[in-house]
């Protein structure tokens, strides 16, 4: 029976992973068909689904909306999917205005805007507020004024304190919400199809009246006002710069770029025929508003057909694929499987049961497969190498670390590689998940970064350097924890861990060095400056120096097994500094922003690593494993020799003692 457990677990988790790809069942409105339609926002083609999810992330750090956040989960609060929320914002803004879509964390901002605190009777959780609450009374003006003031007086974002950051975040969220409300139709439209119809009819007379007025001739005042009023509305719409929903081509007045509903309407006022897309989206909006599911589905289908006929099959395809990617959330799935595998792998050390190690191994392979599929899917969607920003670096570091862990496990079969791989895979995906809370993770790259060659070489290699340094550090953590707290660390295991750490550090030195120098060469290509002492460059240089330090200290006999482990844990600190710490210099050091959330996590991580190093420096008698692991950590060093350029494993502590 026990032999079958790994296979059973594998099948169960694989089935769960596959089930995420299944489309949702929709009986009336085919919202998922709508949410696949491609548009342009943030400078890139994306489906409505991504717009919806990223907007909600920006507003409330979740990919769905909870309409009754004051209820506990067991009271079944009403929640909506991102796409359903977005569609409602598009078509029934007066309804969504009262939905608690804005998250405000800063207590001073809550009291400044006179918002209710946590109070079930008042239906408030003290965190999520609606547009109506936020914009009530003088609030709107206050927010606008303060935001302008902050942007003007503190153009350097690093000088802003948490209150100011919270206010600006709310302000930009409000602008985003405004934009969304004016995407398909003006926000206060009632029956938009009818209004469009009326507009089309009044234009000829109105335009004639306007021309007559310019020439100073008598003109029809009514005809002019009839057209001026909607034109003003359209101008307001355009000024907000909502997403671009009208594809280029024969149906649009522009042949090369996507445009907005407002642009098309203005062109229509100037005399061009109104594009079909505007009318179709008006039908979609009105039918959803009025609850006519059949009309809605037909209009969505019509839009799909028109895009296909206009030669936009690539965009349609990207829209549906990206929606699938969003729904599957492969990195979330693999995160769950990694943590399960981690527990199973740890279990191996306590129960000595091979089935639990094997299960962990199978699950990690499954999670890695999903991780890889997600990575490639993302690369395909973006048309880029795997790492383009901090978010994708986290995903890639995890991926590299898991592979290294599996390689180690293949050689040693003692669950160490599994524990390291699964814990790093899990941790980096959690970090990625938190980084994604700020919005779109597939944002377009600035001109200087727009080079797939350097992204594919420098960035990938330096990120693998990060990954391997972390692997070495986590191996060392296992050594310290098992050695100090348990009797599980035998002399053989200690030696094999030392060999693993040594090998991985060599690997890390190679990759971080090559990656760093390639970065210098990229800088030389873009600015003519190989080395500019930029914080990120310096961070990478420190990793290289640290790894070189470990190797030289080992070769010189300055450290032995325990010292090697302590230095490798130091590698964790150095790498986390380079990965995140230097990015915080901008927000930190002269402001309260220094204590922002991410900084606290980084500080906690560094402290935890220092504690581990301290434990690692304790004399042997404090170690639980010291009984079966002697001759370590004591004095009696070996003379430093340059000729000892061979792996650490050759010079074991027992050999030194002999």
């Amino acid at each position: 029976m026990k032999q079958r457990i790994p296979w059973i677990l594998l099948v169960v988790f694989a089935a769960w992973a596959l089930s995420t790809a299944r489309p949702p069942r929709e009986e009336t409105f085919r919202i998922s068909a709508f949410s696949q339609l491609p548009i342009v926002f943030n400078g890139r083609i994306q489906p409505f689904d991504s717009l919806a999810r990223n907007s909600l992330l920006e507003l409330r750090e979740k990919q769905s909306i909870n309409l009754e956040p004051w209820k506990n989960w067991n009271e079944k609060p009403r929640t909506l999917s991102a796409s359903e929320w977005l569609l409602t914002v598009f078509t029934k803004p007066e309804e969504t205005d009262s939905w608690p879509a804005f998250r405000i964390d800063h207590p001073d901002l809550v009291s400044q805007l006179k918002l209710p605190l946590k109070d079930k009777a008042q239906q408030s959780d003290g965190k999520h507020y609606s547009w109506n609450q936020i914009a009530a009374g003088e609030n709107f003006k206050t927010i606008e004024q303060q935001a302008n003031q902050i942007q003007e007086s503190k153009s350097d974002a690093s000088l802003r304190n948490p209150y100011e950051q919270a206010l600006l975040r709310l302000h930009s969220g409000m602008i985003l919400y405004f934009r969304l409300k004016n995407t398909l139709r003006p926000q206060d439209a009632q029956n938009w199809t009818a209004e469009l119809d009326r507009l089309q009819k009044t234009i000829p007379a109105g335009v004639a009246a306007a021309r007559a007025q310019q020439r100073g001739e008598p003109y029809d005042t009514n005809a002019l006002t009839a057209v001026l009023e909607p034109v003003q509305k359209i101008e307001v719409m355009n000024r907000l710069q909502p997403p671009l929903v009208i594809p280029p081509g024969k149906d649009s007045h522009v042949t090369s770029e996507w445009t907005r509903v407002g642009d098309a309407l203005m062109e229509h006022v100037r005399g061009l025929p109104l594009t079909d897309t505007v009318l179709t989206y008006a039908k979609i909006a009105d039918s959803y508003r009025e609850g006519r599911a059949e009309d809605f589905n037909a209009a969505v289908q019509r839009q799909q057909a028109s895009l296909a006929a206009g030669g936009h099959t690539r965009e349609l395809n990207k829209g549906s694929k990206e929606q699938l990617f969003n729904r599957m959330a492969p990195f979330y799935t693999s995160m769950v499987i990694y943590v399960t595998a981690f527990l199973l792998a740890c279990g191996f050390w306590f129960t000595f049961a091979e089935w639990s190690r094997r299960s962990a191994a199978y699950l990690i392979v499954l999670a890695l497969a999903i991780h890889t599929v997600g990575l490639i899917f993302r690369m395909w969607l973006e048309g880029r190498p795997p790492v383009t920003n901090l978010y994708s670096s986290a995903i890639f570091i995890g991926w590299g670390a898991v592979i290294l862990g599996l390689v180690l496990e293949r050689f040693w079969r003692n669950a160490i590689g599994l524990v390291v791989g699964s814990s790093l895979g899990f941790a980096t995906l959690v970090i990625a998940h938190n980084l994604a809370l700020s919005g779109d993770t597939m944002i377009m790259l600035q001109a200087v970064l727009d080079t797939n060659f350097w992204l594919a070489t420098h960035v990938v290699i330096v990120t693998l350097g990060y990954a391997s340094t972390f692997v070495a550090g986590f191996l060392a953590i296992i050594y310290i924890l098992r050695g100090f707290f348990t009797k599980g660390l035998t002399e053989i295991e200690g030696k094999s861990l030392a060999r693993m750490v040594y090998g991985i550090v060599c690997f890390a030195t190679l990759f971080s060095f090559i990656g760093t120098v390639l970065g210098g060469i990229w800088a030389d290509q873009s600015w003519g400056r190989f080395w500019g002492w930029d914080p990120k460059e310096n961070g990478a240089l420190i990793i290289v120096l640290w790894n070189a330090l470990i190797l030289h200290a080992r070769w010189g006999g300055l450290v032995k097994e325990r010292g090697l482990m302590n230095l490798a844990i130091g590698g964790n600190i150095v790498t986390s500094w380079s990965w995140f710490g230097v990015n915080m210099l901008g927000i930190g050091l002269h402001s309260y922003g220094f204590m922002s959330g991410a900084f606290r996590w980084l500080a906690a991580f560094v402290v935890s690593q220092l504690v581990l190093i301290a434990i690692g420096s304790l004399p042997n008698r404090f170690w639980a494993s010291s009984r079966n692991h002697r001759g370590n950590g004591g004095g009696g060093g070996v003379e430093p020799k340059l000729s000892t350029l061979t792996p650490a494993s050759k010079k074991t502590p027992s050999a030194a003692a002999a």
Partner: protein, 438 residues
């Protein structure tokens, strides 16, 4: 004694100590950038022999003494060379280590050469304009220029570097028909308009733009992306010691683009408001045009029948050819302000017309020519031209040792890969299949 020094120089302990110190210097040098700015921090921590670090905010008694980058680089180099001299022997298992170290020596020496010989400057122009020189980003020079009578477009120039302009100093040059007396040197200045009837400040000088503008001192700025604009109040005395008058020479009108920035800034401060509404923008532009008209009138002094113009301009580096900006391209992603593509099409023009050609310079694709490299740096729009036209700034780098990091990197890469694969194969051969249970 000598032997023990040599022994120390060869030791791995020294390597480890130097690596630790290197990490410390890089770390504190990075931290210092937040308060000192990149330029100063770089000079203090990396291009120095010794330095100290004190936290920007916090207890001032904390002083961390550090070796400078030069000292560390020199010692590392000595350590590497000494160790190799003492122990060099050719064996296959050490080829990788030797190569790695040779590559690192190349990198270190290359950086030293770059540090001594590299020069960075900017070339800025609008579409249609040609330039024969680039300008230094940090330093200025006081220039006295006169047109050459028979050669249109050529000027005689006598320049005095900014480092010589000290309050109270007197400068005599054989080519100049007068003595330059520096009344006041202002390392960083800010312009303001001396509106008639509105300001009580006395004029800074008796001649030229000082009648209409003041350039008051403001704190020196170390931030990376903002630079210091110096001004200098000077008096010219003829051979007999008689004063010819006083002038303000200022970096604010040192070149065309600076004058435009100054005019726009002055106009904005006069108009007030956010300056972003169309109405305000029009007024700002109009007023800036008027200011510019006054600012660009050359300041001149007449001596012995010759008219000399005086300017405080960014230090210029002339080339024997000129570069003409033909066309700029500045694309953004749809519906955003994120730049997608920056590129300048330029033409190399030589006096005889031999070797003229057109080149496209864009991000990550510089032009390398006659020992210089031209990189696309910034882009903008000439706000003062009657017909809108693009402007472009190229970063011009002279670095004779630019290839050394490429060579060093390749050598180290080969060395490390060699060593890595060598060990991996040995490890693979030796490894006994382990079925060890804990």
């Amino acid at each position: 004694m000598l032997a023990s020094v040599f022994k120390l120089l060869c030791s791995l302990r020294l390597t480890v100590v130097l690596l630790v110190l290197g990490i410390a210097v890089v770390f504190f040098g990075t931290l210092a950038q937040t308060s000192d700015g990149l330029y100063i921090a770089q000079a203090r921590y990396f291009r120095s022999w010794f330095s100290t670090w004190t936290p920007h905010s916090g207890p001032s008694w904390v002083i961390v003494p550090l070796p400078g980058g030069y000292l560390l680089g020199t010692l590392l180099l000595a350590n590497l060379l000494a160790a190799h001299i003492k122990r060099f022997q050719f064996t296959w298992n050490k080829v990788g280590i030797h190569l790695t170290h040779i590559g690192i020596i190349t990198l270190l020496l290359g950086q030293l050469l770059t540090d001594m010989m590299a020069r960075e400057s900017r070339m800025s122009f609008a579409e249609g304009q040609a330039r024969t020189y680039s300008e230094d980003f940090h330093t200025f020079e006081l220039a006295f220029t006169a047109d050459v009578p028979d050669q249109p477009g050529f000027q005689d120039a006598v320049v005095i570097p900014e480092s010589k302009l000290k309050t109270g100093s007197e400068i005599r040059q054989a080519q100049l028909p007068f003595t330059v007396k520096i009344r006041e040197y202002i390392p960083n200045s800010d312009p303001s308009f001396r509106a008639p009837m509105m300001t009580n400040h006395p004029a800074q000088a008796s001649e030229g733009i000082a009648q209409r503008f003041r350039f008051q001192s403001t704190p020196v700025n170390n931030k990376m992306d903002s630079k210091n604009i110096p001004s200098v109040v000077l008096e010219l005395m003829d051979k007999s010691g008689k004063s010819l008058g006083t002038w303000v020479a200022t970096g604010w009108i040192g070149d065309e683009s600076m004058s435009q920035v100054a005019a726009l800034g002055l106009a904005k401060s006069m108009v007030g408001g956010s300056g972003e509404r169309p109405e305000e923008m029009r007024r700002v532009r109009e007023m800036a045009r008027q200011f510019l008209g006054i600012l660009v009138v050359p300041q001149t002094v007449r001596v012995d029948g010759r008219e000399l113009a005086l300017t405080l301009r960014p230090t210029r580096y002339y080339e024997p050819y000129s570069i003409r900006l033909l066309k700029t391209t500045h694309e953004v992603y749809q519906g955003t302000k994120t730049p997608k593509d920056f590129r300048s099409r330029v033409k190399l023009e030589h006096p005889g017309g031999v070797g003229d050609r057109e080149v496209e310079i864009f991000m990550n694709s510089p032009l390398r020519y006659s020992g210089l490299a031209f990189f696309q740096f910034q882009m903008g729009e000439d706000q003062f031209a009657a017909v809108p036209r693009g402007t472009s700034v190229l970063q011009v780098v002279k670095n004779p040792s630019w290839l050394t990091p490429y060579v060093g990197c390749i050598v180290v890469g080969i060395g490390m890969t060699w060593q890595f694969l060598y060990h991996l194969s040995k490890f693979h051969k030796k490894r006994t299949p382990s079925t060890n249970l804990p």
